[in-house]
Symmetry: C2
Subunit: 351 residues, 2 copies
């Protein structure tokens, strides 16, 4: 019942606790023979160093925290969006942490609440995490960033497009991705292309719209205001926006939605309007979420390297790359490539 401590191991191996400590931390200056004895004793006793003690006495906590916005996550759950955005981020971080002997703590924070300063301050003081991964849109919160800086806690911002130079980040070029998808549609021969925007609380939404507009303009295509429909990433909003687009006098021959769920909504709207896809209407999504493969036709979409992003972010944190980065070395900015995945929902327009 009483757990085995470093003293038990030291006694059994007949060495000092310091030697045990050295072995457990892979420190130098231990003869192979001693190391062997300690390892044997630790194994026999089933010893594992107590994390709290290590963290209290030492300078590391072996904890990586992931900050996730509370209200948006609850929203997400209630609206049953069906995106596995956070899940994919978490997967990369969990696997990478585990590999390095770290533990992943998931913390909800109200990044829009005035109490965020108190809340995050307390969190950092209590947890003393060795690193923090900031998911959108918390990655853009200046109070959070300031507290992190003040506490000297290394962090990585995941996905933010906008505020540059605010701290290390790992992200994707949403503007370029949206541009490429729009170019893809134009390349197929589409000229009237409708766009459905995402939830404005996420920075990526604006970036994607920018990419769309930029690509249209670059090809000399005018962007009719009516072709820009608001959405919030949900199926319903996509359905509604697409219905509006398809009711236009000169209706678009293609619709580019800022999320796969909205693209599915557009697909449903097309079916209701008795338009076939991709014959009468091409539909493109964004995210390559699992649902993009559950529709007929399957969606042409943009694959975001979310798992790779969180894996890299975790690696940076654990390797202390960020710490060095803060001292002026190492990369502070990693841009990961996206992929346009061409499936069955986009094709040349009829006629």
């Amino acid at each position: 019942m009483a757990s085995v401590t470093i003293y038990d191991v030291a006694a059994r191996a007949d060495v000092s606790i310091k030697t045990v400590s050295r072995v457990m931390n892979n420190e130098p200056n231990v003869r192979p023979q001693m190391r062997e004895r300690v390892l044997e004793a630790a194994g026999a006793l089933g010893y594992a160093p107590n994390l709290s003690a290590r963290s209290l006495a030492g300078s590391r906590s072996f904890v990586i925290a992931v900050f996730v916005d509370a209200s948006l996550t609850l929203d997400h759950w209630r609206s049953e969006r069906g995106s596995d955005y956070l899940q994919r981020i978490q997967l990369g971080a969990t696997v990478e942490s585990r590999g390095a002997g770290y533990h992943l703590l998931v913390e909800l924070i109200d990044h829009d609440d005035p109490r965020v300063r108190q809340e995050v301050g307390a969190l950092l003081a209590a947890l003393k995490p060795d690193g923090v991964i900031l998911t959108p849109p918390s990655c853009d919160n200046e109070v959070v960033l300031e507290l992190l800086d003040k506490a000297g806690t290394p962090y990585v911002r995941l996905g933010p497009e906008k505020p540059e130079g605010l701290g290390p980040r790992v992200h994707m070029d949403d503007v370029a991705a949206a541009r490429e998808m729009t170019d893809h549609l134009i390349g197929l021969g589409h000229r009237r292309i409708g766009f459905i925007t995402g939830d404005q609380r996420y920075g990526a939404s604006q970036a994607r719209r920018e990419g769309y507009v930029a690509a249209m303009k670059a090809r000399g295509l005018k962007v009719d205001k009516a072709w820009l429909q608001p959405g919030d990433f949900t199926f319903e909003s996509g359905h509604k926006a697409a219905t509006a687009l398809l009711a236009l006098d000169e209706r678009p021959t293609a619709i580019f939605a800022s999320s796969d769920e909205m693209a599915l909504g557009a697909l449903a709207a097309a079916a209701e309007a008795e338009l076939s896809c991709p014959g009468d209407l091409s539909v493109a999504g964004f995210d390559d979420s699992p649902v993009s493969r559950l529709s007929r036709p399957q969606l042409t979409t943009i694959r975001q390297p979310l798992v790779e992003m969180s894996t890299l972010a975790t690696k940076m944190l654990i390797n202390g790359v960020t710490r060095k980065a803060e001292a002026g070395t190492g990369p502070r900015d990693e841009l990961l490539p996206f992929t346009l995945i061409h499936r069955a929902s986009t094709a040349p327009p009829k006629g």
Copy 2:
């Protein structure tokens, strides 16, 4: 930079550190006036008790761990199943933990690996979590349960149908749910009902099949072997199984899939066979995952109370209900109700 400690607060409030400790832990025997002074000082200093120190000195760690199977989760990710099973479980646990000042640690464990004993043993020794939530199928792993018992760590098994009396659990009656769905189809007038089973590594898969078989037999309907098709919860497996079912000489008029993703696969197979749903073929799913609303027609399915289950499990852990339960008091077994959600994919058969 140097963090503020209990001594700083005590000095500023001109009390002993013990009084500060009492206030921070809401212990009795502190005059309101003292409490006020301490609170003021703590607020001014931005003090939050260090978790490691609390956990090292005291008997609580303020950490709840969620054990998730590593290889299945990676499988899940690679196959892009699109289920938000774990996400919903985690949501309930995270919100509930946060409300009580606890923190949620997500740990991947290889529950099928021979090293699981060593791995989980080390995890418990290092973390000393105040409670562990076991998700399927780790909740059925006897080595894990044994280690937990030996370590005296309270835990709750989430979802397990099978091994009873092995420890506190919060679950749903999968057998009854599958029976009810089958009854629903029979009630609509269906007699030839195909069934697609789930991944056999999950206990729920067998339970759902049992429910289906029981309902059929209870109504005096024979279960043709060919009507039981194997699946693994994925869209593709559902597609394949449904294709096989629809190729039968006497094809079923309804298909009951053990997951929503497989039901969507069945929907796709029906479309390819030029069968309309629900006109020519009724399709039912299981889980009420977000994707069940992204199809046309939307799926009739079973809603699992996953968030409620994990919320309750967390509550039990934090309130120490389990600890008492282990001493003989309190409920060791919570059965939460499911809901049959009737949407558009099921209807009476033609003719």
